[in-house]
């Protein structure tokens, strides 16, 4: 299942963001950040301890099931008494959750995490970005392996000169995406695909901010 992958901000940064804000309500999430151990129930409890030790007052805390869901506002409504007593919401979810809460409650929010990428758990405790949602998928010609995501340079026409014994020049533990593609295409008997010159990518396929509407026809 795809997940929003996060890592904790440093305590120093959180303290700076909370400077002058003494009454805090903490929100965690039971989905992605629980899996990554960055914003589930144990992490929310630990954060509460840290804040109390630094002299802050915690008006309450909650771990909502899915912070980015529109139903989050209904769950938070039940906590409104404690939320209203707070100067700020410290939100231990990915930025989707932070922005969902921020748009629902009109309260000052501080994210406790940095959102890294949308990825999946490929082994226990190991998360990888599989797709960057570029909007112009070419993996039908690369044996199902995405060079836009897996090559550090996002090269779509074959490996750079830094491919090194099947590994990437910038990380000797990481496979060169184009070596993987070469091996896969060879297995599939489709090496000819590598001859195709891919034209310049269409970044309009990935307009920022992304927006898509199901046509009403």
């Amino acid at each position: 299942m795809i997940r929003s992958i996060t890592k904790p901000k440093s305590i120093e940064e959180i303290e700076r963001l909370l400077d002058g804000l003494n009454r805090i309500f903490i929100i965690g999430c039971g989905t992605c950040v629980t899996l990554t151990h960055t914003g589930g129930a144990p992490e929310v409890a630990a954060m509460k301890e840290i804040l109390l030790e630094s002299g802050k007052l915690v008006t309450g805390q909650i771990v909502v099931p899915v912070a980015c869901d529109n139903l989050t506002s209904e769950i938070l409504n039940e906590e409104m008494g404690k939320i209203e007593q707070a100067d700020v919401l410290l939100i231990m979810t990915c930025a989707f959750g932070v922005q969902t809460v921020s748009s629902q409650l009109k309260k000052m929010v501080v994210p406790a995490l940095d959102t890294l990428f949308i990825g999946k758990e490929t082994a226990y405790g190991q998360f990888n970005e599989i797709c960057t949602q570029c909007g112009t998928c070419i993996i039908g010609e690369t044996g199902g392996i995405c060079p836009v995501t897996n090559c550090h340079k996002g090269l779509v026409n074959g490996p750079c000169g830094g491919t090194n014994q099947g590994k990437c020049e910038i990380d000797s533990n990481k496979d060169c995406a184009w070596t993987l593609i070469y091996n896969r295409l060879m297995e599939l008997g489709r090496l000819d695909s590598m001859r195709k010159l891919q034209g310049p990518r269409n970044f309009l396929g990935e307009p920022t901010p992304g927006k898509y509407e199901i046509s009403k026809s």
Binding site: H152, K153, G154, L155, V156, N157, G158, P159, C160, G161, G162, T163, N164, Q165, G166, E169, I170, T179, Y182, M194, R195, L197, Q198, G199, P200, R201, F203
Partner: protein, 310 residues
């Protein structure tokens, strides 16, 4: 062969001469004196001088400005352009700018990842890749159009080259990859430093079998070793570099103060041997911060004097 541009390098190659290019790296400074000085050191012994583009991802005086400085001194620069730092608007704009200054040769490269340099936190642009940059330059020159399709009133007059690494893995794709670069528009090739001559010749054999040497001018890269330490470092730490053990042993066998001389001799011997290799059209000498040795190498390899070209 039809001469398509005002590039001196193109004229030398298409007139059937064995070409010699070298490279100079711009300073990390706004003072151009040093690169101008380096250019003058080698100008009589090479046909053109590549100017690197923020090599190893370290911020330097820009390649285009350095090329203009050399051009103003009457030297012949080859503009190196990496796609790491600029999007397609900036790249096309710089190509026009270069052509407007009479710079008529360029080398299209991916560029080292910025993680290696002084700005590892910088944005990774790679809007287009080196293959697409080749296509872009050729499209601008031959079709007289920008990538977006609009007409260019006076198209840039550029002889276009690319790099090739015959030693990177998997070896089997190295010849097809060259073919792809030729299809994208490469007219000359400067290769990764060649130390493993057997493997280079094997690659060239594949190139010649496919007739690719008749479609592109291939210039093996030559970098003299200054010491056994440098040889060991390149063998160990530089991705895609093939330094045979015999070369390291040979350097180790001479006293430390004679190693640089031995390194030059090895480079000259490599050029002597590769001159005879079918499909080799010249040499690209990358004497990293050792430009003063280029004239000696060119002379000892029997490549001096350089041909007179109008």
């Amino acid at each position: 062969m039809e001469i398509k541009t005002n590039s001196r390098l193109e004229k030398v190659l298409k007139n059937g001469h064995m070409a010699v290019t070298s490279e100079c790296g711009p300073p990390r400074s706004s003072d151009p004196a040093h690169i101008i000085e380096k250019g003058h050191l080698i100008k009589n012994h090479v046909d053109a001088i590549n100017i690197t583009d923020n090599q190893t991802s370290v911020t330097r005086l820009c390649s285009l400005a350095a090329c203009i400085h050399l051009k103003q001194e009457g030297l012949e620069p080859v503009l190196q352009m990496v796609v790491r730092d600029r999007n397609r608007i900036a790249l096309q704009s710089d190509i026009l700018g270069a052509a407007s200054h009479g710079i008529h040769s360029m080398l299209c490269l991916s560029g080292d990842h910025q993680r290696f340099g002084d700005s590892p936190e910088g944005q990774n642009v790679f809007d287009i890749d080196s293959m697409q940059l080749l296509q872009t330059v050729r499209y601008m020159r031959d079709e007289g159009k920008f990538l977006g399709g609009d007409a260019i009133k006076v198209p840039p007059n550029m002889f276009v080259g690319a790099a090739a690494n015959p030693f990177a893995d998997p070896f089997e794709i190295r010849v097809p990859r060259l073919a792809k670069k030729i299809a994208a528009g490469a007219e000359f090739i400067q290769t990764q430093c060649v130390y493993n001559l057997d493997k280079f010749e094997l690659w060239m054999k594949g190139v010649v079998e496919r007739g690719l040497h008749e479609k592109v001018f291939i210039m093996p890269g030559i970098t003299p070793m200054r010491s056994v330490g440098m040889a060991k470092y390149m063998a160990r730490a530089v991705p895609g570099m093939d330094v045979p053990k015999e070369l390291i042993d040979r350097l180790s066998s001479v006293p430390k103060d004679k190693q640089s001389e031995e390194g030059i001799t090895i480079a000259v011997e490599a050029m002597d041997r590769l001159k005879e290799c079918t499909g080799v059209a010249g040499f690209h000498i990358m004497a990293i911060e050792w430009e003063e040795k280029v004239p000696e190498m060119v002379e000892r390899a029997g490549l001096y004097p350089r041909p007179e070209i109008d």
